[in-house]
């Protein structure tokens, strides 16, 4: 009576054994092609984290001469850590030159995988920890820098003296940006009120939208936020006429009438450095930070928004101040 189940189990066992007996065959690509694989947690068009990296890779590809010179391969939507680990390991096995693990949750996996592939270069973001392993590069965004500048502009322009922030979850890159924004706003106008709301999700657009509505109802005339669900908040900004400050990518297209400035991530700055090092034979062991100083973060102003001259020069002065160190950002709660 259990025989048929036994048979199924045997069949499956058979398939398993058959598979296990096969030798593993790594791909053999001997062209001069520079092959990059990237694993990321969300979609490549999320207008936030993952898109910023994918766009950077495209920039590099164009610089290098197109798809014949550089192959880009990606696995998106890898928010499950062990799926991402399998992907990273697989790309390394397939002989990719550089495997980018674009998600802070992939670190543990990288620690295991990198030593198994000494010929492959790995890059991990967003953090500065290379685990002391010599084929891991680490990269991070000093998102608080652009956040600070956004905060400065926002506080200068705000007539109501109230600003609103819509964040996803209170960790990592998001928290860094938000803290920077708050610091910049307070430094410009100590009486300004910055209300912060973390909605507890990276994807709940509706909640982000209502959070923005709440800010507006509380008197905010300037809003900012980070992560992909922020598109909901941008819509509210446009509707209510509140100013919007973006980060990670340029969000001007979404609301050209209210976007003032964006902190755009230019990961290609870091990628270029990594590629140069790889050419020299260094496969890792260094960490990079994109910031205002190295052009990895760029303050992108919306041409269509009429920014008063004095505020604009204040913003540029702030950028200079951060770069040369005269302005220190106090992140603290």
């Amino acid at each position: 009576m259990k025989k048929f189940r036994l048979l199924i189990s045997v069949l499956i066992l058979f398939a398993v054994i058959l598979g296990a007996c096969q030798a593993q065959e790594p791909a053999m690509e001997e062209k001069e092609l520079f092959r990059v694989a990237v694993v990321m947690p969300s979609a490549i068009n999320d207008l936030a984290f993952s898109q910023s990296m994918y766009d950077a890779l495209l920039v590099i590809q164009t610089e290098m001469g197109g798809a014949e010179a550089m192959e880009i391969v990606y696995s998106d939507g890898m928010f499950v850590v062990d799926d991402a680990a399998a992907a990273i390991r697989d790309y390394a096995t397939e002989g990719f030159d550089l495997v980018i693990a674009h998600g802070s949750q992939y670190g543990s996996s990288l620690q295991e995988i990198a030593p198994d592939f000494p010929e492959t270069s790995f890059a991990w973001g967003t953090t500065v920890d290379t685990f002391g392993i010599d084929n891991i590069f680490a990269y991070e965004a000093a998102s608080h820098e652009g956040g600070y500048v956004n905060g400065v502009i926002a506080a200068s322009l705000s007539e109501s003296g109230v600003l609103g922030v819509v964040g996803p979850i209170e960790t990592g890159d998001a928290k860094l940006y938000v803290d920077g924004f708050v610091a910049g706003a307070k430094a410009t106008n100590p009486d300004v009120q910055v209300n912060v709301n973390y909605i507890g999700s990276f994807s709940d657009v509706a909640l982000a939208s209502e959070a923005a509505n709440t800010h507006v109802a509380a008197g905010a005339d300037g809003l900012t936020g980070t992560a992909q669900m922020v598109v909901g908040a941008i819509g509210v900004a446009e509707e209510s006429g509140a100013m919007w400050f973006g980060t990670q990518s340029s969000q001007t297209e979404l609301a050209p009438s209210v976007v003032v400035a964006n902190q755009v991530y230019r990961w290609d700055v870091v990628l270029n450095e990594i590629i140069d090092l790889m050419d020299e034979g260094t496969l890792g062991g260094k960490s990079f930070v994109i910031g205002l100083a190295n052009g990895g973060e760029v303050m992108d102003f919306n041409e269509a928004y009429e920014l008063p001259e004095d505020v604009k020069s204040l913003a540029m002065d702030t950028v200079d101040g951060i770069i040369d160190g005269t302005i220190t950002i106090n992140l603290g709660e």
Partner: protein, 388 residues
Amino acid sequence: MSNSNQEKWGPKLIDALLPVFATIAALLVGAVMLLLLKVNPIEAYRAMWDGAFGSQNAVAETLTKATPLLLVGLGICISFRGDVINIGGEGQMIVGAILGTLIGITLVDWPGWAVIPFALITGFIGGAIWGGIPGVLKAYFSVNEILSTVMMNAIAVQLMNFLLRGPMIDPSQAELASKIPQTARLLDTFRLPRWVPTRLHLGALIAVVLAILVYILLWRTTWGYRIRAVGQNPDASKYAGVKVRNYIVLALILSGAFAGLAGVMQVYGVNYRMITDGSASGFTGSAGFNGIVAALFGGLHPIGTIPASILFGALLVGANKMQRVVQVPSALITALNGLVVVFVVSSEIWRRRRQKKRLAEASPEGEGITPEGSGPGDSPGSEKEVES
């Protein structure tokens, strides 16, 4: 007395392979989608096979993926048999993992052989609690379990975020600006042994052993009998003196416990720390939902769930490989996953119809003993399946 001994092999075999046929049908529909995306389906599916069974490493990955599915599935076998729908597997995995990880990051001076079982048991208990709460709510407050488990899932996620970025955060992260919400890494001695150089861990074997134990529980113990009796006919059971409420709670406690074990095993066997991206599926890989599907594929029978989880695990692992090789967006993989589930679930009707026909033919009066819609064709043991 079951007369299945008299039944032939052949038809039974086809019955059991129905999920496979249905999967193939779903993949055919998937091929149409691939063609629309200008992808060669043959190349794509070859990559899928490669990814699932094409090498020693692939097989190990498949089995590793199958482990949480099997564990959650075992719990589902228990709860569905008790007529309780537990869709709280995600939350139960999370809570089990939280408690189990807590053990590993605090008891750093203890030896591995003590910590690992302790942690696994704690995870089991954690899941039991998170499943038990909806159980009590259903049994004593008539709160429907679909509602409560959906809510508990969301609560568990926020709890995880709170703990992982706060009290349980990796001390080395707390100083860094990046502040990744993860716990400290488990000591090497605390890890489940692996079949090096693959990622296959002892948990897989433990899961199979547990499957046998669950089978024994459901069909050879009084508890199991009563859970099933309550599931099939609560009124008759009540008149027979069974405390229906208690067994509803038990079904959910056990179901949650297995999901909790699945969660803690992911930590001790695969990731070696608990880490989140803020969502439930970031940690669980949707095993809380997929496990339900695996259990169904296996006919809600603990032993049947073993090949079912391997099949489903193969599908998931293979699909990811397919994504890498032919570079389709992972959204396609999700849609394909859904198609497979719908097709396999739809194929059940043929299995049931074939069973009915066989039983009707075998029974002298031609009346046949009709099994419950969601049960397997035959269950070893001395009880008949009674239609409710």
